[in-house]
Each structure stands twice: as C-alpha cells, then as structure tokens.
C-alpha cells in the first residue's frame, strides 16, 4: 500500500516535470508540499483547518441528532416510514453543493447556512440507516425480551437500540463523509475562512499548488476520522455482534 502511494507520487513528479502543462495548473508534489508548509507558516492553514473541523463537528452532531431521531420514528412507524423514505431517497440524489444556493437565500451569509448544508447533506442517510436498523431487528429478540418481562422504554433502550446499533453506526459513518462534503461545498462558495475558502482562494490566485495541497488536507482529515474513529467503532461492533470475524485479536 505504501509502495503503491510512493509510486503514484513518483508518477506525479515525472508527469509534472515533463512540463506538459504550466506549473500554475499542474504543480509538482514538491511545489505542493512547499506551498502547504508556507500556508502553515504564514498562519492561514491551521485556523482554516480548525474552522472547518469545528463546523463539521457541530453540524454533524446536529445532523445526527435530527437524523437518528427521525430514523427511529421511521423504524417504529410504518406511516412515518412510507411518508419520509421516498423523500429522503430523493434528497440523497442531490449533491451537497446543490444545497448551497438555497442555504444562502434562507440564512444569508452567516455560519447558519453552512450548518444547514451539513445537515441536509448527511441527515437523510443517517435517518434511513437507523430506520432500516430498527425495522430489521430480528423479531425473536423482541419476543425473548418481552417474555423476560421487558416492556416500554426498557424494550427500546435495552433491546431495540443495541440490536439496531450495527446499522446505525454504518449510517453515522456514511453521514460523517457526506457532512464533510457539505462543509467544503458550503465554504467553497461562501466563507472567509475554512478549507473550502482556501480552495477557492487558490483558484482565484491561479495557485494550483495551494488547491491541490488543500485537497490533500481535506482527504487526510476525512480519512483520519473515518479510519481512526468510525471504522474502528464499526469493526468492534461487527465483531462483537458476530457479523465479522476478529482478525486483530481482542
């Protein structure tokens, strides 16, 4: 895997050194790295990383709260499910950037517009995953619990939620990725700070090294959280639930 990445980097270096395109549209890896270091030195990179990540975290928590609640309602009620499912499936076909114009019209130039884009990008996927998780709980789990005297709220918290957890976590992981798309899309069009802003600033300055460098930073942060946090949790749950075999030892 590392060798493959190194090879890819080498290929990039060779192609850019052929100078088929001017360096302001196709930078070399070394130019890109240099530009990232400059951005970090002059103090414009870190505040933007921080701004994007903080927006993402807030927006994601909001989105998960809404999405999972709606999803549980869908999982429990066939009426709610049949009403919302086709709507959500439709909404999911919209790229997150498509939410930006309406967000600006609705919320103006504040951060509220960015949160709106994050929520609209990621909420539906989490709702559908939660709804499927709850609707697909094996009925004998619920029967066994009820014949052991579990009812009402305890049936939801002690049985239904843990039983639906693998699907819910998969939904949260997907929601995180979609929300991250949303942040960058929104910042690209409207913002004076953030990774999306640095992207569009780079384009305006004909600075391809900055554009490519920031793209790499976006990928890196997205991957880091996905791999380190969500995939880890998801894997733990799948092993525990007997859905996957444990290869790492526990």
């Amino acid at each position: 895997m590392l060798a493959f990445l190194a090879g890819l980097l080498l290929l990039w270096q060779i192609v850019s050194s052929l100078a088929l395109l001017p360096s302001y549209s196709l930078p070399s890896p070394s130019q890109t790295a240099l530009r990232l270091v400059e951005l970090a030195r002059d103090g414009s990179l870190l505040p933007s990383v921080e701004a994007s990540v903080v927006r993402m975290l807030l927006g994601f928590v909001l989105s998960a709260a809404i999405g999972l609640s709606v999803g549980v309602a869908m999982g429990v009620s066939e009426t709610v499910n049949s009403g919302l499912r086709s709507l959500f499936l439709g909404v999911q076909t919209l790229p997150s950037a498509a939410w930006v114009p309406i967000a600006l019209l609705l919320f103006g130039l504040g951060d509220a517009a960015i949160y709106f884009v994050i929520v609209m990008s990621s909420m539906a996927a989490m709702a559908i995953a939660a709804a499927d998780g709850i609707a697909n709980i094996p009925p004998h789990y619920l029967r066994a619990a009820r014949s052991l005297g579990t009812s009402g709220l305890a049936l939801s918290t002690r049985v239904a939620l843990p039983a639906a957890l693998p699907s819910v976590v998969t939904g949260i992981k997907l929601g995180w990725t979609l929300g991250w798309h949303g942040v960058v899309s929104a910042e690209l069009i409207k913002s004076s700070i953030g990774l999306g802003f640095l992207l569009s600033a780079g384009r305006e300055l004909n600075d391809a090294a900055q554009v490519v460098g920031i793209m790499l930073v976006i990928v890196l942060i997205g991957l880091l959280l996905d791999r380190l946090l969500f995939s880890f949790i998801e894997r733990r749950i799948r092993v525990r639930w007997g859905l996957a075999t444990d290869t790492s030892g526990r």
Binding site: Y141, R143, A144, S147, G149, R158, V159, A163, W241
Partner: protein, 271 residues
Amino acid sequence: MTAVPLVGADNAPSRITLRGTFKRFVTPRAWVDALGPLDLEVAAGEFVVLVGPSGCGKTTLLNLVAGFEAPSGGSVEVDGETVTGPGPDRAMIFQEPALFPWLDVEDNVAFGLRQHGQLSASDRRAVAAEYLRLVHLEGFARAFVHELSGGMKQRAALARALAPRPRVLLCDEPFGSLDALTRERLYAELQELHAATRRTTLFVTHNTREAACLADRVVVLSPRPARIATVRRVELPRPRDFYDPRVSELAGAILADLRGAPAATGATRLA
C-alpha cells in the same frame, strides 16, 4: 438445590387452562383458522409436549399462552387469571436461541433478573453463575454469543429463561436446528433441569421420539385448525434414555396417532 438467593424462589409452578380456545388470523383478503376450539389443562409442574403436523397451529398455541397473541374466542388462563400479554412469569425459548449479541453470556442469563428490582448487581451475577453451572456453561460467562456452538447457545437461552424462576416455561421446537448428538445430550439435561426446577413446561415439537423422551403427557394435535387428537400419559421412569426401546415404542405409537390411525397396542414396535 443451591445456596444462591434465587429470584422468586417462592414462585410455585402454574396451572395452565385453555377453554374453548380458538384462533383465527384475518388478513385483508382472507382468514385462516389456526387453532381450535380446544380445551387443555396443564397441571402445575407438569411437562406437556404438543406434537402435530407442521403448520397445524402448535406455535400459535404457545404464543397464546405466552401472551404474544390474543385468542379470537375462548380463554387462556394461568392460575385462573386470563392472559393479557407477555410477562416474566411465562418464559419462552425458541428454535433460534435469540441471545443478545451485545451482551456476553452471563449478562444474557442475567437479563431477565433486571426486572426484579430487589436484586443487587452482585446477586444477579451469582444467580446467573448458578444457572450457567446448571446448564454446564460455567467457563463461558464472559464469552461472546457468537463464540458458542449451537447447542451451547440453546443451553444459555434455557438458563436465561429459567433464571428469573418463571412459573411456566414455553419451548417452541428449541432443539429443531441442532445436530442429533447435541440434541440427545440436551434431552438428558432438560430432564435434569425439569427435575431440579419443576417449572410447568409446554414443549412443542414434531419429533415423536423427542416427545416420548421428555413428556409427562403427550398431546397430539390434528392438522390445522389444531384440535386435540389423542392424549397419552407417559409413565416411563426418568431420566429416560433417547434410545430406550420403550421410548421408541411410544414414539411409534405417537407417530401412528399423528397419521390418524389409532395404534393397536404393541403393533407399532419400531425395528
């Protein structure tokens, strides 16, 4: 049996009474009569096995006693009280062990004990450990569910059902998907458990030898809608061996009942 403070140790086993009990399933386009009307009385502490052709409504009968479904007519009573819904006095085990994969084996067994508010966490653990010992799973308290074999899962499910000392144990073909060797061991263990706990047991199967091996009384049901075809009291001494010739003979007689031909005594010896 044990020094552990058993939950509801004063819970006497219950008497189950079905009178004119009838169940019809209605769908928008059709209806199906699944059961009865039939009368059945199960004495406190008795082990009754229901045998019937597949799809005859055996499971429906269990579901009515468990309270998962309501009868369309007649009554279902436990100790003279009409069943209105599921409750911890009537534990049920299924063909799928239905253990919760998010809990380890001990927490599964202790699950039903949470409803008994007076029990501390350490008491719950002690009771769970006691029942794990009873089903020969004492080394597996901290195991994940998926690490158990099919037979071990069903044992754990049995321990989970019995730990809160239900008055009634309902078994819906619990050994149906196990291999023959495992099943035979579990017949012996279930007889031991019944002798130790004396829970009133309603056990559904279509395996006539299983019925002959386990039952105080075998109730043979007719094809749908299930009615009582024959009743056989089984007086064979316990514990019974699955390959005891008297068990085989009785199994043959039950099979004959199932086929609708009354068996002449001694005429259905299996080779």
